[in-house]
Symmetry: C2
Subunit: 694 residues, 2 copies
Amino acid sequence: MDLLKLVYTVSFLTVVIAFAYAVYLHFWVKRQPAENARIREVSGLIHAGANTFMRKEYFVLARFAGIAAILILIFLPGPIWNGNALENISMAAAYLAGTVLSAIAGKIGILVATHANSRAAEGAQRGLKPAFLIGFRGGAVMGLSVVGFCLLGVMAVLMITADASVLLGFSFGASSLALFAKAGGGIFTKTADVAADLTGKVELGIPEDDPRNPAVIADNVGDNVGDVAGMGADLFDSNVAAMASALVMAQALDGGVGANAAMVFCYAAIGLLASIIGIACARVGKNGNPTRALNSSTYSTTILFILLTAAATAFLDGFEWRIWGASSVGLLVGVVIGITTDYFTDDTKPVVRKVAHASQSGPAFTVLSGISYGFISSLPAMVGIAVSALTAYKLCEPLGEGYALFGIAMAAVGMLSIVGMIISNDAYGPIVDNARGLAEMGGLGEETIRVADELDSAGNTVKAVTKGFSIGAAGLTVISLLGAYMSEVNVSLAVQGKELITGFDIMDPTVFFGILIGASVPAVFSAMLMLGVDKNAQKMVQEIRRQFREIAGLKEGKEGVKADYDTCINIATEGALQELIPAGLLAILATVLVGFIGGPLAVGGFLLGNIVSGLLLALFMSNAGGLWDNAKKYIEAGNEGGKGSEAHKAAVTGDTVGDPFKDTAGPSINTQITVVSLVASLLSSLFAAFSLFG
Amino acid sequence: MDLLKLVYTVSFLTVVIAFAYAVYLHFWVKRQPAENARIREVSGLIHAGANTFMRKEYFVLARFAGIAAILILIFLPGPIWNGNALENISMAAAYLAGTVLSAIAGKIGILVATHANSRAAEGAQRGLKPAFLIGFRGGAVMGLSVVGFCLLGVMAVLMITADASVLLGFSFGASSLALFAKAGGGIFTKTADVAADLTGKVELGIPEDDPRNPAVIADNVGDNVGDVAGMGADLFDSNVAAMASALVMAQALDGGVGANAAMVFCYAAIGLLASIIGIACARVGKNGNPTRALNSSTYSTTILFILLTAAATAFLDGFEWRIWGASSVGLLVGVVIGITTDYFTDDTKPVVRKVAHASQSGPAFTVLSGISYGFISSLPAMVGIAVSALTAYKLCEPLGEGYALFGIAMAAVGMLSIVGMIISNDAYGPIVDNARGLAEMGGLGEETIRVADELDSAGNTVKAVTKGFSIGAAGLTVISLLGAYMSEVNVSLAVQGKELITGFDIMDPTVFFGILIGASVPAVFSAMLMLGVDKNAQKMVQEIRRQFREIAGLKEGKEGVKADYDTCINIATEGALQELIPAGLLAILATVLVGFIGGPLAVGGFLLGNIVSGLLLALFMSNAGGLWDNAKKYIEAGNEGGKGSEAHKAAVTGDTVGDPFKDTAGPSINTQITVVSLVASLLSSLFAAFSLFG
C-alpha cells in the first residue's frame, strides 16, 4: 500500500532528523564553557550520584522486567501450551523492547542534563540569554530522543509483527518501567529536597543550595533522577500508550494496517516535526521573559501542528477531516488545560497570592487554602477532558462503527503530538534548578544567582502547563485504552464461545464493585509513595542534624570542612529502592485480584474508578504542590513579610507538603492509571476464562 | 391488607414509646443538679449564642425552602399546566414537611444539649458514672427524636398520598435543609474552634477553654450548632433517603403499598426498638471505660436488631429471608467499617502514634503522614460498601426482576436501622466536649477536668465509628437512589414515547462526560466550605489578637476583666450565613446543568462520579481529621515531648487542618451526594423532555 509506505518513510526521516538534531544540540551544549573548578567538582558529584542511583535502580527494575517477561512468555496473549508460542515470544520481546527503550530515554536525559546544568550556571554569568539557551537545548535533547524512540519503537513493532495488539505489550513494557522509575526517582528527589529544606532553610536559616548542607548534592541528584529521567520515562510511556491504543483501534477499523494507522503515524511524525521547528526557533531576548519564551514556543508548535496536519489531511487519500478535527480538539483542549492550570499556580495570579497571604495566619492556613484551591483546580481540567472526549466522539461517530472511540484515541494522540516540545520545556526546569544550585555552591555571585533564579522560576511556572498537558493526555489515553480493553475481552470471549460484552453498565453491581475498588487504588498508591518520602526524609533529617552536631566547623562554614554528601545520597538511594516496587505492585495486583474475583465486567468498572479518582487526585496534587511552591517563592521575593518571617515558615511547610504531592505522587498516578489499563487489556483473556463471580 | 395495618400499628407504637422515652430522658437530664453560678452563666451564654445562630440560619433556610417549594409546586413532578395540580401540591407539601421536621430535629438537639452540658460538667465532679449518663442520655433524646420523626414523617406521607414517589420530595426537603444546616453549622463551629486553638493554644499558650479567650464561647456554641444540630439533620436526612428509596422500589415490586413496603417499615421500627433497649441499658462502671460502654451498646443493639428482624421474618407472611440477609449484611458491614475506621483514628493503635511521632520532625510531616493514612483508610470502607452492595444484590437477585436493587436499598436500611443508637453516641460527643469547657471555665478543678477529658476522648473515638457508619450508609443509599433515578427517568421517557434507558454504559461518552464532571463536584464543594472556614477563622484570629491587645488586663486574667465574646460569635454567625448557600447551590446547579446539556444518561454518569469521588473524599477527610485530632491529644497526654513541645505545635497544625476536614467538609459531602441524587430523580422528567446533546 503506497500511502503506508509514504507515511513510514516520512516518519522514519523525521526520526532521523530528530536524532541528528538531538546529537547536534548535545554537542552544542558540551561545547559551552565549563571552566569553574568548584562547579566542575560539584557537577561531577551530581553526575556520579545520579549514575549510581540509576544503575542500582535499573538493576532492581531489570529483575522485575525479567520476571514479568517470563510471565508474559508463558501466559500472554494466551497460555503458551495452547500452541501459539510465536505470539507469546513476540509479546515478551515487545515488552522487553519497551522497557529497554524507556530506560535508554531516561539515561540520555540524565547524561545531557548533568552536562547542561554546570554550563547553564556559567552561562548565567554572561546573562539570561545564553543560560536560557543552554537549559532549553539540554532539555530538547531529551525531548527529541524520547519522541524519536517512541515513533521508532512503535513503527518497528508494527512492521515486524504486523499486529497492533503486540503494541500493548510494548506499551506495557514502557509504562511498567515508567511506573517504577517515576516512583523511585520521585521518592529519591523529594526525600532529599524535603530534608534539605527543613534542616537548611527552616532550622539553620542557611540559603537553599548552601554547600554546608549535607543533603544539597542529593537534592540536585534528585532533580535529575526524578524530574528528568522519571518525567522522560513518564511521557515516553504516555506517548507510546496513546499511539498503541489508537493503532489497536485503527487495526480493527482497517482490518489490518491501513489508512487509519497511516494517519496515526503521519500525525505523530508531524507533531515531532513541529516540535523540532519550535525548538529551533525558541529564543529569549536579552531582558526577555523566559516564561513567555517557553510558552510561546508551545503555542507556535501547536499552531504549526494543526496547520500541517490539515495540509496532510487535504492531500492524502483516506485521511478524514473529522479525525483531524478530533486530534485538533485534543491538542487545543490540552493547551486550555495548561492555561487554566497556570492560573492556579502562577504567582502573578490571585490564587497563589491568597495562599501566600493566608500563610501570615500560620501553616495550617497555608495547607488548608492550598488543599482547597487544589481541589477547585481539578474542575476545569476534568471538564476539559470530558468535553474533548465527548466532542471527539461525536465528531467521528458519523464515520461509522468504531470510529467514535478511534476519535477519542486520536484526540489523545493530538494532545500528545507536541510532546517533544513539552518534554523540552519540562526538562529545562530541573536543569536550570541545578544551575541555580551550582551557581550558589560555586560562589558565582549575587547577580548570577538572580539570573538563575529567574530561569528557575520560569521552569516552575511552565511545569504547571506541561503537567496539565500530560495529565489531560493520560486521561484521554486511558479512555481509549478502556475501549481497547473491551475489544480485547470480546476477542477472548468470542473464542471461548461466551456472551460478548456490549458495555459496562454502572447499575450492574459487579461493575459497581470494580468502580469502588478501582477508585481507592490511586489514593492508596499515592499514600504509599508519600509515606515513603515521609519515612526517608525523616531519616535524612536525623542524619543532617547529626552531621551539623558532630562535624566541627561545618555549621560555621570553616575553610576545608566538608559535609559528608555521600551518606545522604545513600539514604535517598536505599530508601527509594526499597519503596519503589510495593506501590506499583499493589496497583497491578489489585487489577489481577478484581479480575479473578469479579471477572471482565468488574475489571471494566475497576478501570473507570481508577481513571476517575486517579485524574482527580493527580490534578489536585500536582496543582496544590505547584501552588505552594510558588507561594513560598512569592514570599521569598519579599512579599507578606519576606524571607525569615512567620509567613515564610508557614509557606515552607506548605511547600514541603507539596513537594511529594507534585513530584512524587501526583505525576506517578498518570503512569499508574496507564499501567493498570494495560494490565487489564493484556490479561483480559485470563479474566474471561476464569473468575469467581464474573 | 392486614399485614400492612399490623406493621403500621407496631411502627406507630414504637414511635410513641420512643417519644415518651425521649421526654422522660429530657426531664431526667433537667432534674440533675445545676448549681454552680459561673457554669450557669456560661452555659446560658452558649445557649443564647446557639439559639441566635439557629434563628438566623433558619431564617436564611426558610427563604431558600420557600423558593424551592414554589419551584416544586410549578414544575414537579411535571409542569403544573399539564393539569396534575394535586400531584404538584402534595410534592411541595411533602418537601416543606421534610424541611420542617428536619429543622425541629435540629432544634430539639440544641435544646437538650445545652441543658445537658452544664449538668454533665457538674456531674463530672461526682465521678465518671453520673457524668457519662447525663451526656449519653442527653444525646439519646436527640437520637430518639430524630428517628421518631423520620418514621412518623415517612408513614404520614405514604398513608396520605399512597404514592411512594412523593417521598422523594419529602426526602429532598430533609436533605436540602441538612445540606445547608450542616454546611452552616460546620463553618460556624470550625471558624471558632480553629481561631480559638491557634490564638489560645499556640500563640498565648493558655489552655483550651480558658475563659480569657474571646472565642471560647463561640467555640462551645459551635459544638452545638455544628456537631449536634448539623449532625442530627444529616442523619435524619440519610435515614429518610434510605427509607424513601427502598419504598419507591417496594412500590414498583408490590404494585402499590404491599408486603415489601411493610418489610421496610417493620425493619425500621425494629431498629428503633433495638436502639431504645440499647440506650436504656447503656452504663459505665465507676472506673469503667466510656469508649467501651458506647461501643458495646452499639454492638448489642446490632445483635438485637438482627435477632428481632429474623423473628419478624419468620413469623410474618411475605417477608423474604434473602431480604433479611441483605439488611443484616448491610448492618454488619457498617459495624466492620466502623471498626476499621477506629483502627485509623484510635490513639491506642499504631497509626495515630506514627503520626504523633512524625510530628517531631515538624508540621509538614504531620500533615503528610495524616493525608497519606487518610487516603489509605478509605480502602477498607470502599471495599466494605462494594462488598455489601454486591452481596445484597446477588442475595436478592433470585427473588425476581427488581429485587436485586431492592436488596441494596434494604442493606442501606439495615445499616441505618440502629441510627437512634448512632446519634445518641454521636451527640454525646459535643455534650461532653462542652462539659469539659464548662468545667474549665467554672473552675471545677483538676480532677473534674480529668474526668471530663476522659469522657471527651471517648466521644472522639466513637465519632470515628459512627462516621464510618453514616458514610457507608450514605454510599449504599445513593446506589439505590441511582436505581430510583433510573426508574423515574424511564417513567418519563415512556410517557414521552422515547426509548427507555436500560443502564448507564461507561463507554457511552455522554455518560463518561457526566462521570468526570460529577467526580469534581465533591472536591469543589468541600473546597468552598473549607475556604469559608479559612476566611472566617482568619478574621476571628485578627479579632482575638485585637482584644488581647486592646482590653487591658485580659491577658493577665485580671479580676473582673471580661473578653468580648459576642463579637466573636457574631463573626462566626455572619461568616457561616454568608458561606452556607453557595457550595450547596453549586452542587444542585451542576446537576441541573449536566442534565440540560447531556440529558438523562449524562446525569446517571454524573451521579456515579459524584458518589465515587464523594465517598472517597468523605472517608479521607473524616478519617484524616480524626487521626490528627487524636494524635494531638496523644501528645498532650505527655507523649513525644508532650504539651508545648515542637511536636505538639506540629500536631496542633495537623489538628487545625483536620478540623474543617472532619467537621465541615467531610460530613457535608454525604448530604451533598444525597441531595444531588434526589434532585436528579425529581427533575428526571425535565431532563427527559429537553437536553442539548441527550
